[in-house]
């Protein structure tokens, strides 16, 4: 079966491609690029991509799919459905499932569930320590063999520097990036939002930016010491951005990702106590958001990752300080990036594709993804940069509806998602 993506504008930063070009897909791989005027094969099914941008499939380095253990919030199948509806062809679920993904059996299970769903690719992130307890190393080698692409104790950052040092040394043996949720809990514990003027006004306990900065400093120094690859997850403070920027300049193997809510909302959104504004790291103040935007522009930030964190409505219908941290994000990420970054002139389409595809593939060493080079996996995201649409929680494919963007309008969207040569999502179809 051949599929020809015709009349689209092909952007593939890995190949310096940024112009009209048709893409031929066969056997789940990219078979050829066909220039305008060249003769396409007559036996191919045609997808007319007129007016659309054709990009290598978007990869989300940071999601929570809740399976195994909390299937009332999300399953791998429902999470993958939300992913492809949001334009993502691959997602990397964090290990904080129940039980924790700290061994090959669970890693394998997650991949199998994804294959059964047949929507997005799932590349699990394994735990750094057993049960993310911060005390004993998890079987990183076994998990890698089973398909894990990185390690993290996301949400429960390794508190002990000596342990983290050993974890980095060990992860380096297997060439696994260490994904770091930077939060010194001795500073942030009990906090429910960013510490600043708004937390003062609302009487909510704050999580100081310093908690992120200090942990980032510690782990960047450990990365320099060990030579490991540290990937700072959901970066949110001016300070930690500066730390990563300097680390990169120094040649330390450091990368980082940002979540869309951290460049589109400030802590002012917490006013009114809507628990869908509660996440970790928290929404920060304007100066931090400004620093993030600058870092997106200047290249310090490698990737946009959603930190999609579904929670059941009943869990979010609690007091602000008792509600769980996290919001859904798979279906709004691309719309937010278009509306707040591209259309506001901060970045161009090439950089957008870099942030969502080229770089995530590079950061987690996902070979033959993040590009549409001939021979690569035929994972594609088709974008309509000018589509006007409104996001509604009620229409979300995710099992949970905890997004603060309910009812928000967007300019620009992912309109079709192709995984392994198969069209798995078409907007309105």
């Amino acid at each position: 079966m051949k599929l020809l993506i015709k009349n689209g504008h092909l952007i593939d930063p890995a190949q310096n491609q940024n112009s009209g070009m048709d893409v031929l897909i066969e056997g789940g791989r990219v078979a050829a690029w066909i220039g305008r005027g060249e003769q396409p094969p007559a036996d191919a099914e045609v997808f007319d991509a007129s007016g659309l941008v054709v990009a290598p499939g978007f990869i989300d380095l940071h999601v929570h799919l809740r399976e195994p253990g909390q299937e009332h919030k999300e399953t791998i199948a429902s999470g993958c459905a939300a992913a492809v509806a949001g334009g993502f062809t691959s997602v990397c679920p964090m290990p904080n499932t129940n039980p924790i993904n700290d061994n090959a059996a669970i890693t394998r299970y997650m991949i199998e569930q994804a294959e059964r769903a047949g929507l997005a690719n799932v590349f699990p992130v394994g735990a750094i320590t057993k049960e993310s307890n911060g005390a004993q190393l998890a079987e990183m080698g076994e998990m890698k063999a089973a398909g894990a692409v990185a390690v993290s104790d996301d949400g429960r950052p390794v508190p002990n520097a000596g342990m983290m040092r050993r974890a980095m040394e060990y992860a380096k043996d297997f060439d696994l990036p260490v994904v770091d949720h930077c939060e010194d809990k001795s500073l942030s514990s009990g906090g429910v939002m960013h510490e600043g003027r708004v937390s003062l006004l609302l009487g909510l306990k704050g999580m100081p930016a310093l908690a992120e900065d200090l942990d980032a400093v510690r782990d960047i120094y450990l990365a320099r010491e060990t030579g490991a690859h540290i990937h700072v997850a959901h970066i949110s403070t001016k300070g930690s951005i500066e730390i990563v920027r300097r680390a990169k300049a120094e040649g330390i193997h450091a990368t980082c990702e940002v979540a869309p809510h951290h460049f589109t909302l400030t802590d002012a959104a917490v006013e009114g106590y809507d628990t869908n504004t509660k996440m970790a790291p928290p929404l920060r103040s304007e100066e931090h958001v400004a620093a993030i935007l600058e870092a997106i522009k200047d290249g310090t930030i490698d990737a946009i990752a959603t930190d999609h964190a579904p929670h059941h409505a009943d869990e979010k219908a609690l007091e602000y300080d008792r509600a769980p941290f996290g919001i859904t994000g798979l279906e709004t990420a691309v719309g937010l990036a278009f509306s707040e970054l591209v259309h506001k002139g901060l970045i161009d389409l090439v950089r957008l594709v870099e942030l969502f595809s080229t770089n995530p593939a590079r950061v987690f060493h996902l070979r033959e993804r993040g590009t549409l080079k001939v021979g690569s996996h035929a994972d594609l995201t088709l974008l309509d940069p000018t589509l006007d649409w409104v996001y509604r929680n009620a229409e979300s494919r995710s099992k949970s509806k905890n997004s603060p963007y309910d009812g928000r309008s967007f300019h620009g969207a992912a309109v079709a998602t192709i995984v392994g040569g198969k069209i798995v999502y078409r907007r309105g179809g």
Partner: protein, 311 residues
């Protein structure tokens, strides 16, 4: 009379204007007289239902609201919810919707978490009155404090007010700071650095100063407001011992001598005698703690009256 607050709910002082605050205080003045009558009851709110929904123990505040409702002839129902039954799974929204289904006119809510009254106001058809939410606000306490100050000083504008103690966890301090600065007073706060949030002076636009020592805050003050120390704070290592606290931060006669001669002392109660306030001070004629309690009923009558559609 023009209605002092257009909004239905009383969630905090922060979003009220000076005119609205003065309006509530003036309404309270009108109700004060009822509390002095032989028969302390008027038919103003007959047929109205007020639910006192208390997730946190507070006999004082609850009784004050209950008396206020009854003196206006409203039907008052008290519901105490221990946090343990909440953890059994019913959400806050469930609780609100269930109570709402019983068609109360007003729900007075007290909760250990900041923002709960705001959350309830979004789903409830009844008027919500905040009777204290976490470390956020306690608007009726600030109003009764203001009434006490007005009674003794004639006005609030131009006064120097010192607020001392645990500023970090105090909803009383926050509501008072909003109210006093809106009405033209200058507020100084002081306490152990561990209990004064960083950049606290940014809580309001103007007239709020954080003083390095309690003495600096008290010096020249017209009003000295003492906050209650939660004894359990000791476990969180905000200060070493109650003994040390009382020595360095407690209001003693010597410290009070730094204030103006006619300075008055307020405390939201219940007091830890000998810790945040010396007994000599608490029992002196400058201490207006019982006046505060007395005006509490009048203020709550005014608030219930306005929230249930009076005015």
């Amino acid at each position: 009379m023009e209605k002092p607050f257009r909004r239905r709910d009383l969630l905090g002082i922060r979003d009220l204007s000076a005119a609205e605050i003065t309006g509530i205080l003036n309404t309270a003045e009108n109700f004060r007289e009822i509390n002095q009558r032989e028969i302390k009851k008027v038919p103003t709110l007959r047929g109205k239902t007020v639910i006192n929904l208390f997730f946190e123990n507070s006999t004082r505040t609850r009784t004050s609201f209950e008396l206020a409702a009854k003196r206006l002839s409203a039907d008052a129902v008290n519901i105490s919810v221990s946090s343990s039954s909440v953890t059994k799974g019913e959400t806050l929204v469930d609780t609100a919707l269930n109570l709402d289904a019983m068609q109360p006119d007003c729900i007075v809510v007290r909760h250990g978490s900041a923002g709960v009254p705001h959350q309830l106001a979004k789903v409830s058809r009844a008027a919500i009155v905040n009777a204290g939410d976490g470390a956020n606000e306690h608007p009726t306490q600030a109003l009764l404090d203001a009434m006490t100050i007005r009674e003794h000083k004639g006005t609030i504008e131009g006064l120097e007010v010192a607020i001392l103690g645990d500023i970090l966890h105090s909803r009383v301090a926050r509501s008072n700071i909003h109210l006093l600065t809106k009405l033209g007073a200058r507020v100084r706060v002081a306490g152990p650095k561990t209990l004064v949030p960083r950049d606290f002076e940014h809580l309001v636009e103007k007239d709020l100063t954080v003083c390095p020592h309690v003495e600096d805050a008290i010096r020249g003050a017209d009003v000295v407001m003492i906050l209650r120390i939660q004894r359990e704070r000791q476990d969180s290592a905000y200060f070493p011992t109650l003994r040390e606290y009382s020595i360095h931060y407690g209001l003693t006669n010597e410290r009070l001598d730094l204030a103006r001669k006619d300075a008055i002392v307020l405390h939201p109660g219940p007091m830890n005698r000998g810790i945040e306030i010396a007994s000599e001070v608490a029992d002196s004629s400058r201490s207006l703690i019982l006046d505060q309690v007395k005006y509490g009923v009048a203020v709550r009558m005014a608030v219930l009256y306005l929230a249930t559609g009076g005015g």
